[in-house]
Symmetry: D2
Subunit: 440 residues, 4 copies
């Protein structure tokens, strides 16, 4: 998401009492969820050196240490400080350092300077996390049921927020390590056996009025609602994301050389940045290779193409004689089980497709986010949440495009069919790919 | 439109034979239309000094002389040269100088350098127009019916293209003259009597599936089709555009000081450009005044607010507790007669609203273009025209917002309910305003 | 000079009474000089179209109309207004429009926007000149001797100022016309017969303490004094400027490809701007040609190389196994008659060398300004003049290099051996060339 | 120095045999010098956290780790690799990572990206240093006298190079830590007692021809020679550098508000950067404080003013009715003992002046570098050294000004009267100050 350091916002209609999803005692399960998500963040960093935590390779990215501290600050600012008027902050300047963009909360360090913070050290940042976690657990255990009912939604919000930052921590770190000519690996991974990509098939959907957006139980961000109707013409959707092999054909056919494939702004971006292939791809004497979180690897033609901008996705689709899906089409097609290659699998790279049912699209969830043809705009009747946590989704509803389905860097429990991710059309450092569509 | 130097593109379905709209002999009426539109362009320039024709105040704008020559080049390139293989161009370098952005036609002078062309002189540019007009009339008169049938649509296209440039000529010139501290008037205009703005009423529309887009006879650009269905929720629309008086309230209430009214990108634009009011507004000791094509004038609170960006339109709407209309809503509400204050009236400035029927919106056409909440995207099933003239609308379908209804600088015969104008959200030099909407 | 719109400043010691250089009645000859210089400015513009007067091709350059009006404003501001407290300005806004950079005189239009002024028109600007000229002549004729003695130095200053702008008018116009793909000629000129460049000889000077700078009678700018001593080691100087033919050898030998010839900042400029040859040179199928004020011409190997930056001059010298002269060396060698190819000759382009005495350097004056190795710094004991006219030379004494000797665009009566011109090291649009030197 | 990552270059005339300065056995003393300088670098870093080593706050600065590795690479590249054709580098990519700007040695990582290198880690960089140090000692011990004679000058050069980087390590780190809102201290330092600044006196020197530059025994950089004569007019020099108290007066008198004090480029820098005081100064409720390597401290009026650009030094001098010294004047006045407040004192901040002889200038060495009025240009007859180490001083001889005398961050053994430091006139992050001069 293009404002990667935002805070999630609770759905308008949080559903029936007993919000937190787990069964059994609600407080116990909330604490269990809390500790599980919090530990997942530090777990991602287990192989990092202290020096790695400081890197910031572009204004849109943040250092790993910043992600760890900012997600902690969320719980301190919006729960611990809010609940206890006499709360003493862990450090008086951390709010300045680790606020992201909440105008309502006060000033903050300019985003492009986050990479200039050697202090607090990693050790101190981890101590900050431990201190806040302890206080949170004490708070949750000691609260009476009415209190829990009040701030449990905020805890759930904070955990979803943290999961977003887990994905950003991975993509930001990948971008930073790539700048190092030594091309260090974040986490080693054995090469798998070569497989063939499944052939592309088309799955058809008839025209009709569709219900779109989140409206049921369980957590969702405010931008996923209100649930509403859209008229959708008949369409056909590809059975799997476009592969790196197909992108190699696009390149070989002069895809990056011919303006007629491209949106005008896209062609300008190609010229300005000198794009000749997806981000992280390099052509060597032995063919194309790509930087992954496991270091440099040959480009695998069977894998979903990844790290492309909206412009590239759109140009590739046009070259293919197809187009991208709209959000409503995507959500119509996404009526399948949520399974796939996620951060939990620790592969941290898209995988060639496994088999699946004939009559439904595969790899809808996980692997790569899929750019849609839809600009990121409010659904009819949308209203942002009140207060600082409302500065989250609504104010970014301009100049961006929606991506759907999650990626190999998304925690599995974070994604759902109505989930709307969004980035500027020139963004390439997320695990973003392409699924083709056609008139039905 | 944000690529102001494009060429219009013929509708997919040009309708039944006998396309040109006028009655009587089709060729006669085509020639009559041709000469009328061509003369309107030079008529706009009747009060200009030779020095005025050269000015280019920003890359998005073009000199008046360039507009005159570029629209002429369109007829030379796409009709005269295309019809006659032995055609000798008026000047061998004019294609380089006066092509706008057609990659398919060849290289061209960089847009930001159009203001560096003192030659050809104005006199030579007018001679170019006369020569091409003569050849066009000769061609039309001498053609047999099957030829006319073939290139009449291109002539109509060229005339619609020229009308777009007539509007741009006015807005570009306004922008250029404004930079001159002498604030010269383009055309004098007597001050009218002070009137009160009509009070704002709300007009309601029920939910339902609506047919949107152009599908009938007569000329339309390719981006207005295909005609298709959209589900539209119930909504209410303001009876007239927001006025300068209402914008003065927004300013007085700190509208430009508070980030919570603004989209994130909009707030960044406010900071970057130092926006404190609509473009051309200046606060003096005697209150607000504004630069018009008749020179500096006091801001008239009864007039429609004008020269605002999408960001300002959106922030003003949020401050008003409302929102902007979507394209589908706008088109639903635009089921009224096409009348209003157009370029033909030679006022060249929005006017306070006159009376109108109680139960329908007023000032829908003319006065100010109305920013919609809709990003400029293709309609379902959209396909651009073939060849160079297809490089017109489709490739700009990203990062822009749609405006509807025409302005005081639009020729009356150019506008219709399905017309889609589009500009980047930070553009302010068009006659762009705001109409508010609400949930129905 | 790199602040091309400055006002000259009177020498510290204006010399004995009767300052103006002409013989006979001092007032008569002052008026004669005044009218001669003023008419030379308009004479330069005799072949221009009104549209040409408006062009500004870069922030460092100004439109021809601006030069005509700014030099007029100088006489209005510093003489007419100063002499008569009741003076009514020709136009109340012209001071804002035509002041250049005098902080002490008040605000002014930003330099890069001078090209946005279509008004006043050329006709009005010429009327402004005529009006001020008339008033100046009336003033001079009616003044008593003590008054004349007081403001005659300012008149002389204003005329020298105007002569500087005559050169800038030519170089700015050349730069602007060059951007036009039609490559229009400013003034036609017949091609001369091909000649061979004179062979380069070396002329030697012994070491010693030298007197440098202006100290005698006659007009000089403040930066030419005080006259002072410098110790100069023995040196040898080339008998003529480097030729285009020698520069072609430099290019052919990879001069623009090898960083070891270049200053670090110079090499960065080569990379940034993509320099491959002097400004205005173009390589075609028939070899090198260059844009001149008479249109495109083949590069003449016998002509002095021209339109090179300090960086190119320095790199060429290093490649030649030589170096540039210091100011003190140049002034030592310039002990020759002031003659050569000047603006008065209306060639407006450097010429191959004619013959000359064996034992002295040729083409010292006229043809091309010669970059020196000396940074533009104050002479020992330098003090700028008092008041606004003191904002002229002193405040530019940083980051620039000195050029000596005048060019084919300099009025002959404007130059002298002590004259110090100065520009930033990356400037190329003046008629700037190279003379080589060596250890003696 | 403005290319802070250069390599020193041996003097043209290295003096008599037995170059290394120490007595006793030349090899023993060379090894002793080698280890002393090398250990001083790591000693400076003793209080740093691993995260601190990575910071790069601007393109002109480098991370501490980079300084440690780059100085090591110098010995590996120019000595170990050069001596032994079969030498195996410590790491094959380190030459790419730790070369600075030697075009002759090959490609290198872009300077602004040095802050993106988390790997090699600090631990690995220190291992690199230890390995190279060991090999250097082995080489020196095992070499025969003729070999030592050959590469001893390069070792001395490498040590002088390393001392330059020690100073840069301190100034770069200060700049980086200052960006952290926590304002961490590099090294604590107790506050000293308040003292009064010595009153400013003037010391006079008569006119005459002076010998300038290095010509004797001992190490010097190539830019310090050849020794040559200059004619110097009579002048007077201030007995001590200008103090912070005097700079406070300049500020209070509107020094940063009035363009007439400033060079034109200086005034542009004031506007562009918003300069209101020397770098690191902040005005709070309790008056002015400044960031030091010991954290935030009140501005001490008795201390030499520091962290000013050339523009500020020049403007301050003009406001004082004085000027800066030329290099020749400075060197004439610097005929005093080399003593003062250096890096060896571990104060890392200028100190108020102690007493000294009445008739000679104080604080000539150490405390603050003194900006001179002299542009950085070659001395007559200057020739750079051959080969890659010649890409050191000569190619920067444009657009910079010379500073003299060393600072509180300079190692004492590194400075001498002929030493020429140089930076661009807008540089402020060095310990740079002002000494005033007047006509004698």
């Amino acid at each position: 998401m293009s404002r990667p350091t935002r805070t999630p916002v609770q759905d308008q209609d949080p559903g029936p009492p007993g919000v937190p999803p787990s069964p059994s005692d609600p407080v116990d399960s909330l604490i269990r969820d809390f500790l599980r998500v919090r530990r997942a963040s530090t777990g991602l960093c287990s192989t990092l050196e202290p020096e790695d935590f400081v890197l910031q390779s572009m204004p849109d990215a943040s250092p790993a240490k910043w992600h760890l501290a900012h997600t902690t600050w969320f719980f301190e600012e919006f729960i611990l400080s809010a609940v206890d008027p006499g709360y003493r902050t862990f450090h008086p300047r951390f709010s300045f350092l680790f606020n992201s963009y909440y105008n309502a909360v006060g000033e903050r360090i300019p985003r492009p300077r986050r990479g200039l913070l050697s202090r607090p050290t990693v050790r101190e940042a981890l101590a900050y996390r431990e201190s806040i976690d302890e206080r949170m657990v004490v708070l949750l255990r000691s609260a009476d049921p009415s209190q829990v009912e009040r701030f449990a939604p905020l805890v759930v919000l904070g955990l979803n927020h943290e999961q977003q930052h887990q994905e950003l921590l991975l993509t930001d770190l990948k971008h930073a390590l790539w700048h190092n000519p030594l091309r260090p690996a974040f986490r080693d991974r054995p090469a798998g056996p070569a497989v063939d990509a499944a052939p592309r098939r088309w799955i058809s959907y008839p025209e009709g009025v569709r219900w779109i957006g989140h409206g049921g139980d369980g957590f969702a961000f405010d931008n996923e609602g209100p649930r509403h109707r859209q008229f959708v013409e008949a369409f056909r959707v590809a059975s799997r994301p476009a592969t790196s092999g197909e992108f190699l054909e696009f390149i070989a056919d002069g895809g990056y050389d011919r303006p007629d494939h491209w949106l005008s702004d896209g062609w300008a971006a190609v010229q300005q940045h000198g794009w000749r292939a997806p981000l992280y791809w390099e052509r060597g004497d032995d063919g194309w290779s790509t930087f992954t979180l496991a270091g440099m690897r040959p480009v695998d033609p069977a894998e979903p193409a990844c790290h492309v901008s909206y412009y590239e996705a759109d140009a590739f689709a046009r070259w293919s004689g197809c187009r991208l899906l709209t959000e409503a089409e995507w959500e119509t097609a996404a009526d399948v089980a949520v399974s796939g290659n996620f951060a939990d699998d620790e592969r941290f790279h898209p995988a060639p497709p496994a088999g699946g049912p004939e009559n439904e699209p595969a790899q809808v969830f996980g692997d790569v986010w899929e750019w849609t043809a839809s600009a990121y705009l409010p659904y009819p009747g949308f209203r942002p949440a009140k207060g600082a946590v409302g500065e989250y989704n609504g104010k970014f509803m301009c100049n961006q495009h929606v991506l759907r389905g999650g990626s190999c860097a998304t925690p599995r429990s974070h994604i759902r069919p109505t989930y709307r991710n969004f980035f500027y059309p020139d963004a390439r450092w997320q695990f973003s790919g392409v699924r083709l569509a056609q008139v039905g």
